[in-house]
Symmetry: C2
Subunit: 145 residues, 2 copies
Amino acid sequence: MQLTRFTDIGLRVLMYLTALAPGQLATIPEIAERFEISRNHLVKVVHFMAQQGWLATSRGKGGGLALAKPPEHFRLGEVVRTLEGAMDLIDCAEPPCALRQGCRLKGVLDVALAAFFQSLDGHTLRDIVASPTGEAIIRLHRGAI
Amino acid sequence: MQLTRFTDIGLRVLMYLTALAPGQLATIPEIAERFEISRNHLVKVVHFMAQQGWLATSRGKGGGLALAKPPEHFRLGEVVRTLEGAMDLIDCAEPPCALRQGCRLKGVLDVALAAFFQSLDGHTLRDIVASPTGEAIIRLHRGAI
């Protein structure tokens, strides 16, 4: 069980942006380089997050990315749920499961998944870039890691 | 986020065996056919589950598989945790994350994962093959689905 690469990248970008100084912007090339992520991948994730209203983007010289709202307004459960998209822990259709009409397993897994997100929703972006992570990100902004 | 195919197959096999009549055995070819799973995959999963002491297997004519202990002794959290093996929701090493020395995200995800398993551990194999699933499996034993 693993989060998708899409979610992983999304979380890294959000954490990176959280630790920007007020008014500071980051750019796609900068983030791609710092995290050694393909620019292609990164553009897709950033575009999606901008569509969610999570990122403010500005084009042109001096343009870049920033969070569109304060980091304490990003609840982690909601962030992960949105980045993951439709999430079925098991795929009853592949291979087609003969039990799927009356199976209780899926219901039990869905309840457990709700507990997972409830736990994550107890934290915001602000929490996970608290010390010492925040300092690490700031060093990263400077290219010092 | 999805359970591995290995876990998916393991759960299907355990459910199938749970609904066997006392003394009844199932065979690999039978299970592979009923669930449309490759026999190769199935053998690996069955072998692993036998090593865990979950399955009793007997060879030769009239041989087959059964649960090695009552289904109420299989807690689902433990079953899924064991089938999944080492489970990191994010891979901090791929691509190498510059933040991994001081990151708080992993700790938050680990706590959420513990909540997921705690929820699952509230159920046993016996619960998920209760009616109507049990009846569906019995029809499946007869090849009627």
